[in-house]
Amino acid sequence: MTAHEQLEHLALLAEVDDLTDRLSRWIDDCPDWQTAHRARALLKRLLERVHTLRFRLETPLVVATFGGTGTGKSSLVNALVGREVTTVGRERPTTTTPILLVHPDIEPEALELDLSAFNVKRVDAPVLRDIVVIDCPDPDTSETSATGSNLAILREIVPHCDVLLYTSTQQKYKNARVIDELIDVASGCRLVFVQTHAELDSDIRDDWKKFLSSDYEVPEMFFVDSVKALQEQQGDHRPSGDFGRLLDLLSSQLGAARRVEIRRANLIDLLQEALAHCRSDYDANLPKVQELIETLEQQRVRLKETLTGQLCDELLVNRTLWERRLLSSVTDMWGFSPFSAVLRLYNGLGAFIASFTFFRARTSAQMALIGAVQGARWVKSRAKENEAESTLERLSTFGINDQQLQESRLVISGHIHTAGIDYAMSDDRRDLSELRRQAAALEGEFLGDAGRAVDEVIEELAAASGGWLTRVWYEVLFLAYIVFLLGRVGYNFFWSSFLGPIVSGSNSHEPLLEVDFYIPALIFLVIWSGFLVTTFTWGLRRGLTSRIQKFAQSMAESRLLHGLFPNLEETCRYVVRDDQQLTTLLDQTTSFRRHIADPSVGFLGGRREEPAES
C-alpha cells in the first residue's frame, strides 16, 4: 500500500467514524416521543454491532453459502477448495452442522465466531488464503425456526458473514422461503449469485435476475457445474467456464486489500437500512405530532381572540376612563394655560368622584386607563402594582376561566395520547394551578403589549384632537368670558364707581358690584367652562370606537410567544427538529453509501437502498 493509498484508506475510516459519532450523538439527544425512543433503541443495538465489527476489520472475510436444500451448496464448497470436505447427498437436508473451512495459517479464534457450533476443518487450498468459508444449512426444510432447526442455525451464523454465496437452481430460484430469508439477511452482506446444476438444468439466469432486480443489485450471475469443477480441480486442471471465473474473483477480489472496503460497505448498508426503517416509522407517526402542534397553535389563537375581544369590550364600555386618560394626555401636552387648568380641574374632580364609587379598578382595562390625575407615570406604576396584586382575579374577568383551561387540557391530553408523546399532565385532575399560572403569565404578556398599544392610541388621539388650532380656539373662547368679566368688574371698580364721577365731577357714584353680581358671574363661568369642556371632550370622543377596533385588530395580529403548555410546545418543536436531523442523517448515510459502497463495481451484489420500479 502506498502512502497515498494509506491516507485515502484512513480518510474513509475517519468518515465512517464521523458518521457513527453523529449517530451516537443523535441517539443521546432524544425527545420524549415514543417513536423517537423506538428509533433510538434500534440504532443503539446496531451501533453495538458496528463496534464489534470495527474490531474485526482486519480478520479475513467470512464467506458463507446460502440457498435452498439441494441447490448444491456443499458441492460448490467442495469444488471451491478442490476436495471433498463436506458431505454431498441426494437426501434432504444433507448439511445440518455448519462447516467452517479455514486455511492452516489463519487462527479461527480471531474470527469471533462460536467455534463449538461449527465443524472446523483446516484446508490448505489457495482460495482460502484470504477468506474463510462456511457451508451453511438450508433455510427451507424447517417449518419453524425452533432451536436446533436448520433455520435457527443459519440465522445464528449469517450476522457474522461478510459475503454470501447465494446458490439456486432452476427448481428453486423462486422459492418463497429462501427469498423471505434472504430479505432478512441480505442487508449487511455482499451477495454472489450462483446458479448450480449446470449439467442438468436450463440457464434461467435472465429470469432470475429480473426476479431479483427489484430488491437487489445484481451485477453478475454465475452458472456453474460443481461436479465437473471438482473433477477438474482434482485432476489438477484449472476449472473452466463460469466456475473458473468465480474462483478467480473470490481469490482476487476478496483479498486483504478489499476487506475493509467490503466490511464498511456492509456496515453502511446496515446503518442506512436501519435509518430508513426509522424514517418510515417517523413518517407514519409524525402527522399525529403535527396535529398536536396545530391544535396548540389553534388554542393559542383562540386564547388571543378571547383576550382581545374581552379587552375591546371593556375599553368600549369604559368611556369615562378613556376620556380622563385623553384629557390628562392633552393637558400634559398643553402645559399650563387657563383652559388646560379648567380641564385638569374637571378631570381631577371626576377622578375624585369616581374613586368613591370604584374603590379600585375592577378590570384590567379600567386599570390600564384609570387615573390620569397624577399623570401618566403614576398610572404606569399603579398598574404594575395592581397587576401583581390580583392576577388571578383579572383572569376570571378576562375570559380565561377554569373551564376553558380544562377544555384545553382535555383536548391536548387526547392529542398527546394519540401522538405518543411522554408528557405528564399534572397528576391531580382538579389541580389547575399550573395552568392558571401559565394563563396569568400569558395574560401579563398580552396586557404588556396592550398597555403599550393603548398608550400609543391615546397619544395619537390626544395629538389629533389637541392640535394648535383647537387649543387657540378653546383658549380664546374661554378667555373671552374671563376678559369680559374682568372688563366688567374693572370698569365698575375703576371707572363707574370711582374715577368716572371724579373726572366728570358728578356725584353719582355707581355702587360697587355686589354678591348678586358675583354669584351669577361665577355660575355663568361654571356653565361656560362646562360647555367648553363638554364640547372639547365630545370632540375627543369622536373616532374613539373606530380607533379601538383598529387597536383590537392590531392586537389580534400580534402573536403570543407561547400558549398554555410551553413545555409541551417545546417538546413538539424538539420532535420536529429531531425529524429533520433524522432526514439529514439518512441523506448523509445514503450518499455515503452511494459513494463508498457502489455495488455496481465488481461481481458483488447487495440489497438495493430502495426497491426499484419493476
Binding site: 435452498g68 436444500t69 439441494g70 441447490t71 441426494r90 437426501e91 434432504r92 437436508p93 427451507d140 426444510t141 424447517s142 417449518e143 437452481t169 432452476q170 427448481q171 428453486k172 430460484y173 423462486k174 422459492n175 418463497a176 422461503r177 427469498i179 423471505d180 442438468l200 436450463s202 434461467i204 429470469d207 396535529e291 398536536l292 391544535t295 364609587t357 377554569d402 373551564q403 380544562q406 377544555e407 387540557r409 382535555l410 383536548v411 391530553s413 387526547g414 392529542h415 395520547h417 394519540t418 385532575r429 382538579r430
Partner: protein, 700 residues
C-alpha cells in the same frame, strides 16, 4: 406395484358396514349434506354475531374452506371425482398434466412459477350436467382457448377448462399453480384446488421432497384423507432407484400421507417436451435394500391416464368426503376449535368486563350543589300558587309592599356591584366545570382501559380515545349543556317532590317558615356508571351520597321544625340520628332535593356521553361476553353434534382404497385389495349416488 392399504377398522367392522349401507346410506348422505349446509350457514351467522371478539376470519381457516370449497358443493346428489396435479414450482407439474391430457393443454416453461391459474380437463357432457361454477366457487371460469392463458398474471382467480372426451364421465383433472414460489396468490389457488380434490397427483423431486412448504401442503392433504399418487420426477435412473424409498419414507413420515401409488419419471427434458415421458410404477412400501436390481425386467412405463381411470371412484369419494368432514369436525383443527376459541375469547372478555364494570365507575366528588336560593324561590312560587282566600291576599300584599320598599336598595346595589348573576347561571357554570372534570376523568379511565384492557377491548376504546373525538365531544356537550333550561327542570322537579311531600306532611307551613333560614352548602358526590354490564357492584353505586360535614352545617343553621314527618321524607337510615328533630327533617329534605336534582343532571350527562361517545360499546361488550349462551353459538354446537353423529353412522364404510389395476403386470397384489373389490360391489348396488361412478370406472 401398489399395495392396497388396509384400514385397521375395516376388518373388524365389515359386517356392520354392510348392514349400514344396505338401505339407509343414501338417506344418511342426504342427511349429512343438509347438516353440513346447516353448519355452513350457522357458522357464518355466529361469526357475524361474534364480531366484537375479533375471531379469526373464517376465510383462510382450513375447515371453513373445506366446507365452502369441497363439502357444500360436492355433497350433492350426483358424485364426481376431482384429481389434481400438485407440487412445488418448476418440477414438472404441467408436464405431468399434459401427459394426462395427452396434449399440450397446459403451457410449460423452463422458468419457475409459470402456471398462475388452474387448468381443468372436464369429461364431455359434464358441464351440461353440472354447474361448474358451483364446483369451483372461488374461481372465475373461462373456457380454455390457448395454453398460454394460464400463465398470465391477474389478481382474479381464474380457472380455464377444456372438454376432454377421453376422460371417464365423472372425472375432472386439474393442473394447479405451485405451492412454494414467492407468488403467494398461487398458493391460495393451489390450496383451493387441493380442497376440492379427491385424488392428488403429487409431483416431487429430490430437491423438493423435504421442503417446508411442500410438507405443509401435503400434511393438510393427508389430514383430509385424500388419495395420493406420488410421481418422483427428474430422477437420475438407475442411480436414484436406491434413494427414492428413502425420500418417500421421509415424505410420508413428515406428512402422514400413505400414497396409493408411486411412479418414477426420469430427468429427460426432450421426452418431457415430446409428451413421451415414461412413468414407471413402483410398489410401496418396499422391502429394505431396494435398489436398481429390485426392479423387474419387464417393468414398462404405465399410462397415467388409464391408471387414473381405474381408480375406485366410489371408495375414494366416500373416503375424501369423510376425511374432509372429519377435518371440519376435528377437535384440534376444526369447528370445535373455532368454537373453543370463541368461548375462550368470550370468557376473557367477560372477566375483563367484570373488572371494568366495577372499576370504570367515575366517582365525582365535586358536582356543584344546586342553588338553594333557587330551590327556595321555586318552592315559594309553588306554595303561593296553592294558597287560597285571605291568606293569599295578605301574602300578595306583603310581597308587593316588600318589593316596593326594597326596590331602591336593590337599584343602588346593582349600580354599585353590577347586576347580580342569577344563582342558576352560577350553577350552570359550576356544572359545566364538573362535566369537564367528569369527562376528563372518563378519558383517564378509558385510557387506563385501553392500556390494561385485553386485545378485544383495546381497539374499541382506542377508537373512542382519538383526539378529534374529544374536541367533538366537548363541543357537543357544550351545545347541549347551553340549551338546558335549568329553571324548567327545577320547577318540574320541585313540583313533583313538593307534591309528594305535601301528601306526607301536614306541617307544611312550619317547613315553609323555616325555609328562609336554610342556606345549605351540601356537595353531593355521585357516580357515573358507564359500563353497567350487570356483573359488578356498579349497579348499587349509583345513589349519590352527601358529604357529612356539609350536612352538619345545615343542621346548625336550621332551627327546630315541627317533627313527625322525618321518616317519611328522609328514608335514609344514615340520617336517622338527627331524624327525630325537625332540623333533621329539613336537612334530610334538602338532601333529598339535592340528590334528586343532581341525579337528574348526572343521568342527563351519562346518557349524553353514552350517546355521543360510547355508542353501543357497552351493549356490544355484554353481548360478546355472553356469546356462549347465545342461540347462535348453541346452534353451531348442535349442528356439529348432529354432523358428528351422522358421520359415526357411516364411519365404518371401507376407508381404503384406490385399487389402481387388477391386471398383475407388477407383482405385489395382496389379498386385501381383492376383498375391497367385493365390498365395493356389494355396496354399490345399494347406493344410487355412487353407482354411476363405479360403473364408469368399470366401463373404462
Amino acid at each position: 406395484m401398489f399395495v392396497a392399504r388396509t384400514n385397521p377398522r375395516v376388518g373388524t367392522d365389515r359386517k356392520t358396514s354392510l348392514r349400514m349401507t344396505s338401505g339407509s346410506e343414501s338417506t344418511e348422505f342426504q342427511d349429512i349434506a343438509s347438516a353440513t349446509r346447516r353448519l355452513y350457514d350457522v357458522v357464518q351467522t355466529l361469526q357475524d354475531k361474534a364480531e366484537f371478539l375479533q375471531p379469526a376470519a373464517l376465510d383462510g381457516q382450513e375447515w371453513f374452506e373445506l366446507l365452502r370449497q369441497k363439502l357444500v358443493p360436492q355433497l350433492g346428489e350426483d358424485p364426481w371425482l376431482v384429481a389434481a396435479v400438485v407440487g412445488g414450482t418448476n418440477i414438472g407439474k404441467s408436464v405431468t398434466f399434459n401427459h394426462l391430457a395427452g396434449s399440450q393443454a397446459s403451457a410449460t416453461s423452463p422458468l419457475a412459477s409459470g402456471t398462475k391459474h388452474p387448468v381443468c380437463l372436464v369429461p364431455s357432457g359434464f358441464s351440461e350436467r353440472h354447474d361448474l361454477q358451483a364446483v369451483f366457487p372461488d374461481f372465475a371460469l373461462h373456457e380454455w382457448t390457448a395454453a398460454g392463458s394460464a400463465l398470465e398474471e391477474s389478481d382474479e382467480h381464474n380457472l380455464y377448462w377444456q372438454t376432454s372426451p377421453d376422460l371417464p364421465s365423472t372425472l375432472l383433472v386439474l393442473d394447479t399453480p405451485d405451492i412454494d414460489s414467492d407468488a403467494r396468490v398461487n398458493w391460495v389457488r393451489a390450496d383451493a384446488v387441493r380442497r376440492s380434490a379427491d385424488v392428488l397427483i403429487a409431483v416431487l423431486t429430490q430437491q423438493k421432497y423435504n421442503d417446508a412448504a411442500v410438507k405443509e401442503f401435503f400434511r393438510k392433504a393427508g389430514a383430509e384423507d385424500k388419495a395420493v399418487l406420488v410421481v418422483f420426477n427428474q430422477c437420475l435412473l438407475p442411480d436414484d432407484e436406491q434413494y427414492w424409498p428413502v425420500w418417500l419414507n421421509t415424505f410420508c413420515s413428515e406428512t402422514g400421507i400413505q400414497p396409493d401409488a408411486v411412479y418414477l419419471a426420469p430427468a429427460d427434458r426432450r421426452a418431457a417436451e415430446a409428451l413421451e415421458l415414461p412413468f414407471y410404477e413402483r410398489p410401496w412400501p418396499v422391502h429394505t435394500g431396494w435398489g436398481p436390481d429390485s426392479v423387474g425386467v419387464n417393468s414398462s412405463p404405465r399410462n397415467l391416464n388409464q391408471d387414473l381411470s381405474r381408480l375406485k371412484f366410489r371408495e375414494i369419494r366416500i373416503r375424501t368426503l369423510r376425511g374432509s368432514l372429519k377435518q371440519v369436525l376435528d377437535t384440534t383443527d376444526g369447528v370445535p376449535r373455532h368454537l373453543k376459541q370463541l368461548r375462550l375469547a368470550s370468557d376473557e372478555l367477560a372477566t375483563a368486563s367484570k373488572r371494568l364494570s366495577s372499576d370504570a365507575v367515575l366517582k365525582i366528588r365535586d358536582w356543584p350543589s344546586p342553588p338553594n336560593a333557587s330551590f327556595v324561590e321555586e318552592i315559594r312560587i309553588w306554595w303561593k300558587a296553592r294558597q287560597q282566600g285571605w291568606a293569599k291576599k295578605i301574602n300578595t300584599f306583603y310581597d308587593t309592599v316588600g318589593t316596593g320598599i326594597t326596590w331602591p336598595f336593590k337599584k343602588a346595589r346593582n349600580a354599585i356591584q353590577g347586576e347580580p348573576v342569577p344563582p342558576i347561571d352560577k350553577y350552570r357554570e359550576a356544572e359545566w366545570s364538573a362535566i369537564l372534570t367528569t369527562v376528563e376523568e372518563l378519558f383517564d379511565k378509558l385510557q387506563w382501559m385501553a392500556e390494561s384492557g385485553n386485545r378485544m377491548i383495546k381497539p374499541q376504546v382506542e377508537a373512542v380515545l382519538q383526539a378529534s373525538t374529544r374536541t367533538q365531544l366537548i363541543q357537543t356537550l357544550k351545545k347541549h349543556h347551553a340549551s338546558v333550561d335549568f329553571d324548567a327542570e327545577l320547577k318540574s322537579m320541585i313540583a313533583t317532590e313538593m307534591a309528594s311531600f305535601s301528601e306526607d306532611s301536614p306541617q307544611l307551613f312550619e317547613f315553609y317558615r323555616q325555609l328562609h333560614n336554610v342556606s345549605a352548602a351540601v356537595r353531593p358526590m355521585t357516580s357515573v356508571v358507564l359500563f353497567s354490564l350487570g356483573m359488578g357492584p356498579a349497579g348499587e353505586a349509583v345513589a349519590p351520597l352527601v358529604a357529612g360535614a356539609a350536612a352538619n352545617a345545615v343542621v346548625h343553621v336550621v332551627a327546630d321544625v315541627a317533627g313527625g314527618t322525618t321518616a317519611a321524607v328522609a328514608g335514609e337510615a344514615a340520617l336517622s340520628t338527627v331524624a327525630g328533630q325537625g332540623s333533621g327533617m329539613l336537612q334530610a329534605w334538602f338532601h333529598r332535593l339535592h340528590t334528586v336534582f343532581t341525579q337528574c343532571r348526572v343521568d342527563w350527562l351519562t346518557n349524553l356521553i353514552r350517546e355521543e361517545l360510547l355508542g353501543n360499546l357497552p351493549e356490544q361488550m355484554q353481548a360478546a361476553a355472553n356469546l356462549p349462551s347465545s342461540s347462535e353459538y348453541q346452534e353451531v354446537t348442535a349442528a356439529v353434534d348432529q354432523l358428528a353423529e351422522l358421520i359415526q353412522l357411516v364411519a365404518d364404510t371401507p376407508a381404503s382404497v384406490a385399487a389402481l389395476n387388477d391386471d398383475s403386470t407388477v407383482s405385489g397384489v395382496n389379498a386385501d385389495s381383492t376383498t375391497d373389490g367385493i365390498v365395493a360391489e356389494d355396496t354399490a348396488a345399494t347406493l344410487p349416488i355412487q353407482r354411476n361412478a363405479t360403473q364408469e370406472s368399470t366401463e373404462s
